[in-house]
Amino acid sequence: MINFDEEIEKFQPSPEIEQAEDLINNNDLTDITDLIKMILKDKDSNSF
């Protein structure tokens, strides 16, 4: 049985077009490649 209150809480407001710029700027674009690069960089720095 669906619980309306629980279900309604799952719906989130949709971002409006005026907020698009903020969304683009605050988007976390870190991918696996970035993480590996960081790991390898840390590894290299620790080896010295």
Binding site: M1, I2, F4, E7, I8, K10, F11, P13, S14, P15, E16, I17, E18, Q19, A20, L23, I24, N27, L29, T30, D31, I32, T33, D34, I36, K37
Partner: protein, 464 residues
């Protein structure tokens, strides 16, 4: 591929960057897996499994954020499910990573080149957010109104369909909820929320059908094996049929036929009433027509009378020269007034005034003017003619004297001298009757004049 370390282009066949010497083996594997997820996402998108496609494409981008194809496709899918801002975000980021020869340019321009459409999409988002607020506050009716408008503005807004379906479910309107969910499922066939709500709606009818389906399953799946057997004729069935027909006929005769008859009678009565009402209305119309015709004949008679009266009226013809003689006389009079008194001659003016026909004068002012002129001029002219007449009388020119004296009398009937010498002239001419007439005028009308005594004296001398 692009070396993640120095951003230079490297051949796909090489495992190490030629420029910075960075080992690319692991990156190549990651990129390959990212492309694999992109392909999965593309396959899912083609069969409208958009939720599955989004999941695959996000994984693809988590592995390689520069996978432009995956990002562009993700933007397209977001746009398809009504998530406009998310779509634009993905395309803008895609263009950031690949500024040239990127399909994202085409998508962004397509949206931005139609401001009306973009505004409608934004309005849809705003209204969806309002509807969500109303729904959380318990104002389901307002939320539904807003959501219906949202779906008019953007018919692909899946979350609006889902929220609307949830509200309908809460209000017990399952059919409407089903319709919303079906529309949502046509856009995205595997959306978890849509499927969950549909399953919820299908649970109750499934429970109701459960018992029937089980029993039907038992009877339909397990068929008894029987041998061929000739059926015997069933006499009872035939008898039952006959009995049924007889009962049916009896019911028809007892119940239905009287009802039909009553209906017919009622119909006839109604027709009779309608007929009578129609007759009454017809008679009323006839009476009204007769009355109108009578009024029409009366009015026509009045018209004829008025026309005859109108024809009998003689409208005097308008004579534009009617007052010309008056103007001429006035003008001459003013001319004479400008002369010295002894040089003035009113004879011509008097003739004009005497011969002027004033019977057609309508202007009271004109009549006043001509009368005033007559009062001023006629006594003077009368005196002139009297002087001439008296002179002719003295010269024994009695006929000519009479002409002048009568003119004097005509211009001024109170000129007693002129009357007296008319009498005297007739006396000299031995026209005693005429002389008597004028002597008597002097005696009767002017008893106080100086001519009175002479008139009495000469009258007494006239032969009888």
């Amino acid at each position: 591929m692009v070396c993640p370390n120095c951003q230079s282009n490297v051949s796909d066949k090489r495992n190490r960057c030629e420029r910075c010497g960075h080992d690319l083996t692991i990156y190549k594997k990651i990129y390959r897996v990212s492309n694999l997820y992109y392909n999965i996402g593309l396959e899912k998108a083609k069969v409208r499994d958009l939720s599955g496609a989004i999941t695959a494409l996000r994984k693809s981008l988590e592995l390689n954020k520069r996978n432009t194809n995956a990002r562009n496709l993700l933007g397209l899918i977001y746009f398809e499910i009504g998530d406009t801002v998310a779509a634009l975000t993905e395309w803008v980021i895609s263009r950031h990573f690949k500024p040239d020869e990127n399909d994202a340019d085409k998508y962004i321009n397509a949206v931005q080149d139609n401001p009306t459409r973009l505004d409608a999409l934004n309005q849809a988002i705003k209204r969806y957010n309002n509807a969500l607020t109303f729904a959380r506050q318990g104002s389901e009716d307002l939320a539904i109104i807003q959501l219906k408008r949202v779906l008019q503005l953007n018919p692909h807004f899946i979350r609006a369909y889902q929220l609307l379906a949830l509200l309908y479910i809460k209000m017990g309107e399952t059919e409407k909820a089903k319709k919303c969910l079906l529309k949502a499922s046509r856009i995205d066939v595997s959306n978890t929320t849509t499927l969950k709500y549909m399953k919820e709606l299908e649970q109750q009818p499934a429970l109701v059908r459960e018992g029937a389906s089980v029993s039907a399953g038992d009877s339909s799946t397990v068929m008894p094996v029987s041998t061929y057997k000739e059926e015997k004729p069933n006499v009872m069935a035939f008898v039952n049929l006959i009995v049924g027909v007889i009962i049916g006929l009896a019911v028809t005769v007892i119940l239905i036929v009287p009802s039909i008859k009553r209906k017919n009678v009622a119909g006839n009565n109604q027709d009779y009433v309608d007929y009578n009402a129609g007759l009454a209305a017809l008679e009323e119309k006839d009476a009204a027509i007769a009355k109108l015709q009578e009024e029409n004949s009366d009015l026509q008679q009045k018209i004829n009378e008025l026309q005859a009266e109108l024809d009998s009226i003689e409208i005097p013809e308008e004579n534009p020269n009617l007052y010309d003689t008056l103007f001429q006389a006035s003008s001459l009079y003013m001319d004479e007034l400008s002369k010295r008194e002894r040089d003035r001659d009113y004879t011509q003016i008097a003739q004009i005034l005497r011969t002027t026909d004033t019977s057609q004068y309508e202007s009271e002012e004109a009549m006043q003017l001509i009368n005033r002129l007559k009062q001023e001029i006629f006594p003077l002219v009368s005196e002139e003619h009297y002087e001439k007449g008296y002179k002719l009388y003295s010269e024994y020119k009695y006929e000519e004297a009479l002409d002048e004296l009568f003119l004097a009398y005509d211009y001024d009937p109170t000129n007693v001298d002129a009357i007296y010498f008319i009498a005297r002239t007739y006396h000299r001419l031995e026209d005693y009757e005429s002389a008597r007439t004028y002597y008597e005028i002097v005696i009767n009308n002017f008893p106080d004049s100086r001519r009175y005594q002479n008139a009495v004296s000469y009258l007494s001398r006239l032969p009888e």
